[in-house]
């Protein structure tokens, strides 16, 4: 058993859509990243997915991702070579041979980045990630939750500036130092995070993230083809709840401490007629209430889909009049342990409330 599965061009299109949904409002549909990987496929490159079970305990995996303002990549377009540069830096510094590449987060634009390195090096992409969604800060990861160090980190800008962060006193310091360098380098860096062993990944990473995103996206595309409700086709392939159906009637947005914060109100229709859904956001959607009662809490995923296209709606694109389907998908239990909730639970986002899950049967 090689544990390898080829990724087709159709899978890539599905992955982009699914990654948008797992972005829970923070990450969006990775259009430019998808164009890049499609171009590499057109040149004959191919990528396979590697199951984490097929990793030897001592084999190493590189974790790549962007850091910075998503807006910058809309002007300075994402380039596979820049991600490859961060990967090569880590390879050189850690003097190691990587078995596979994985994404730093499956939600949003980052989902596609390991495919760049994989297409250019021939390595497979690992079917796992340390978030299972999108989060705003570097330390919000299952590896950091497990107490693994968040160093060394390789940072590459678009020129030939290369920075290695060798040691930090804690994950929050990696975030802080990285953020400062990022600002200087034009608010966007390619990063390669600490190498992780097969053993660490088996215990601490979220398995099946990439194939999950592909499955989600494929379900949305099926809904489009069959003129069905995307929420229904998504819930055929994913454990979760249809939280709410309605129309966005109000959005209040502001920026504090580097976050887009705000609240949106959704007026119920169909089986939710006469009811009101409120959702708070801090880059991602964090807490949802139905008629004032808590309905979904971070780290469970709140996914807002366009009722017609099934396309994920982000915290910067949600606006009055959109017809939406709101889903709650359960967070992995790696994100809901007592220690995990200190880092990614409601209190980490400034809420004085305890995590409660809408998914009673426990977590996948």
């Amino acid at each position: 058993m090689s544990g390898l599965a080829p990724v087709t061009e159709e899978d890539l299109k599905s992955l982009a859509l699914g990654a948008g949904i797992l972005g829970t409002g923070g990450g969006t549909h990775p259009y430019l990243e998808l164009l890049n990987i499609e171009k590499l496929y057109l040149q004959g490159r191919r990528v396979s997915l590697l199951s984490p079970d097929a990793l030897g305990d001592d084999e190493l995996v590189a974790e790549v991702g962007f850091m910075g303002a998503p807006l910058v990549t809309k002007e300075r377009l994402p380039d596979p070579e820049q991600i490859l540069k961060a990967y090569r830096m880590m390879e050189r510094y850690a003097r190691c041979t990587f078995r596979a590449v994985m994404t730093s987060e499956i939600g949003g634009e980052n989902a596609i980045l390991p495919f760049f390195v994989a297409a250019l090096t021939g390595l497979p992409v690992l079917d796992a990630d340390p978030r299972g969604r999108a989060f705003p800060e570097m330390q919000m990861s299952t590896f950091a939750i497990a107490g693994l160090p968040l160093f060394p980190v390789a940072l590459a800008d678009i020129r030939s500036n290369e920075v290695l962060v060798l040691r930090t006193v804690g994950p929050k310091w990696t975030e802080r130092i990285g953020r400062g360098i990022c600002t200087e380098a034009g608010a966007m860096l390619a990063t390669c995070r600490p190498p992780r062993t097969g053993g660490q990944i088996k215990s601490h990473a979220l398995h099946g993230s990439v194939s999950r995103a592909i499955r989600l996206g494929a379900a949305v595309r099926r809904a489009r083809r069959e003129h069905r409700d995307p929420a229904d086709t998504v819930l055929e392939v994913e454990r979760g709840l249809k939280l709410f159906t309605g129309k966005v009637i109000d959005v209040a947005r502001r920026t504090t401490e580097g976050f887009v914060r705000g609240q949106a109100h959704v007026e119920g229709s169909e089986d939710h007629a006469g009811r009101l859904f409120k959702v708070d956001f801090q880059n991602e959607f964090t807490i949802g209430w139905i008629d004032g009662r808590l309905a979904a809490v971070v780290p469970d995923l709140i996914c807002i889909l366009d009722a017609l296209t099934g396309e994920a709606i982000g915290t910067e694109t949600i606006r009055y009049g959109q017809r939406v389907r709101i889903l709650s998908l359960p967070a992995s239990r790696l994100l809901t342990s007592a220690r995990a909730l200190e880092i990614v639970g409601p209190r980490a986002f400034g809420y004085d409330l305890d995590f409660v899950s809408a998914h009673i049967e426990g977590h996948a």
Binding site: K39, G68, G186
Partner: protein, 510 residues
């Protein structure tokens, strides 16, 4: 001021004469393949009908789908050299990358990537490669290319490198026409570049069309200034339109909405324009169409263009009605309604026949629909009304009741009462709302860029000053300028309290 508004549509060319706030008269005639003849016919028709003196009109405003159609049909396009100032960034996704292959085939002449561009805080990424630009200009000249699109990273923030590149191009290749991306658009390099290249590809057609319009006007004995309408409800001088044909894209729905605003006297309302095949529904905010937020595709090319936020519905006077089971559209008789509809002697049941049977309008021979079952007519009209009611609800920007202005030849299909609607207005001259919208258009200027470390008041004031300067450059009277849109979006992650501000200013023609 006396003005003439002309709408050159796919089916009809409409002309309307306006004096200040009064409509003197209108005339409808079929559009001709050469466009010019249709315009001459419409002008002579409306001048004869109103007995107005041609010399008394100071301005002619034309709305046309000509350029949109050229891109959609891939005809009359000019080959373009694309210059992007971006390296070492943005190398992998080259210009034209997401264009449909057949359109790229027709337009791509040359691609050059050069070092330069800016960061989001306004610093250069690296110095601009001027020597490379000079070489590129010579190569473009040698290849015989005459239209060039130049795009630099973050040029909406600072246009420095695009301006310098244009200067070098002029020195080396004076015959080349050039489109600079910062004059067209917003943050979003690929989409802005796409708009730039599309604009450059319309260079020859724009010149030819503009001359045809001027000929039509002169042959009609008019000495008026010629303007073309833009998709934001304002106009530009013909000379400007020659350089920016892309601004006229999708001006049709905009003109009908602006016309609706003028005819009704309302500035905030939903406008429902019912034609023969489709119904366009848009939202007027302060007298202008609300713009779409999302990506707009033109002929299959992704742009972030200023476009009215319009929902189109396959419903119009010619829409076919199925009896068993009951269905409305989406097929339509289109321009053949006068031949195929029941009341006109045909044998197909259309929405117009329903309306005649229900007594909503008098058209054709009512006797030919007298045997339609009343239950069928009631149920079908009910369904048409629900379709319109639903689309109005989708376009609304607030939960409160809003007024609705119904225009277009099929306005009789819009119900008098709807949920969430305060009142429905159907107006004289509503069938030529499009040409009316062209006649009353104003001139605008816009600013959309990122500001750092300034108070909100300072940011809005700076953006307003830039937008006002652009409006005056485009032909507006400085004394009539008015801010119609202010939007500020705080940007997460970005350094130094960054805010993206958009301000739009309009004024009367100077």
């Amino acid at each position: 001021m006396r003005r003439i508004g002309i709408d050159v549509g796919g089916t009809n060319t409409d002309a309307v004469l306006v004096d200040g706030n009064t409509i003197l008269g209108s005339f409808k005639t079929p559009t001709t393949p050469d466009v010019t003849t249709g315009i001459i016919d419409a002008l002579s028709g409306v001048l004869a009908r109103t007995k107005a003196h041609p010399a008394s009109f100071k301005a002619v405003m034309i709305g046309t789908t000509h350029f949109t159609n050229a891109v959609a049909q891939r005809r009359f396009l000019t080959r373009v050299a694309a210059i992007r100032i971006c390296l070492p960034a943005s190398r992998s996704l080259e210009p034209f990358i997401d264009w449909p292959a057949d359109l790229r085939e027709k337009v791509l002449g040359e691609i050059v990537l050069l070092e330069g561009g800016h960061e989001c805080d306004g610093r250069p990424i690296v110095p601009f490669d001027e020597e490379g630009m000079r070489k590129a200009a010579r190569k473009i000249r040698e290849k015989g290319l005459t239209s060039v699109g130049i795009t630099s990273v973050f040029s909406p923030l600072t246009s420095e490198f695009e301006e310098r590149a244009a200067e070098i191009l002029r020195q080396e290749h004076p015959q080349a026409a050039v489109t600079l991306s910062h004059t067209l658009g917003r943050i979003g390099l690929l989409e802005r570049e796409n708009a730039t290249l599309l604009n450059a590809s319309l260079k020859d057609l724009a010149g030819k069309t503009s001359r045809a319009f001027i000929d039509a006007i002169r042959q009609s004995g008019l000495e008026a200034q010629l303007y073309l309408t833009q998709n934001d409800g304002t106009v530009m001088l013909a000379e400007m339109a020659e350089r920016f044909p892309i601004f006229s894209f999708a001006s049709g729905p905009t003109n009908s909405m602006r016309g609706g605003a003028f005819l009704s006297g309302l500035s905030d309302a939903v406008v429902v324009d019912v034609g023969g095949t489709t119904t366009d529904v848009g939202m007027l905010v302060k007298g202008f169409p609300r713009e779409a937020n999302n990506v707009v595709e033109i002929g299959g090319v992704r742009t972030l263009f200023r476009m009215p936020d319009v929902i189109s519905l396959a419903l119009g006077g010619g829409t076919l009605v199925g009896r068993d089971p009951l269905s409305i559209g989406p097929e339509s008789t289109g321009y053949e309604l006068m031949r195929r509809g029941l009341v006109f002697g045909g044998d197909e049941l259309t929405c117009t026949d329903l309306a005649v049977s229900a007594g909503l309008i008098e058209l054709g021979e009512r006797a030919r629909v007298s045997d339609l079952p009343k239950t069928l007519v009631t149920a079908a009209i009910g369904q048409v009304h629900r379709m319109i009611e639903d689309v109005i609800d989708r376009i609304k920007t607030e939960a409160a009741d809003v007024p609705v202005i119904a225009v277009g030849g099929g306005a009789f299909l819009v119900p008098e009462r709807m949920k969430g609607v305060s009142r429905v207005m159907k107006l004289p001259h509503g069938d030529v709302a499009n040409a009316v919208g062209a006649a009353i258009a104003q001139v605008s200027g816009e600013c959309d860029q990122i500001f750092h470390s300034m108070s909100r008041e300072e940011i809005i004031a700076s953006a307003r000053a830039i937008a006002s300067r652009r409006a005056v450059e485009a032909g507006a009277d400085p004394d009539t300028l008015e801010v119609v849109d202010v939007e500020d979006l705080p940007l997460a992650y970005m350094p130094g309290n960054s805010v993206r501000a958009r301000v739009r200013v309009v004024g009367e023609i100077a």
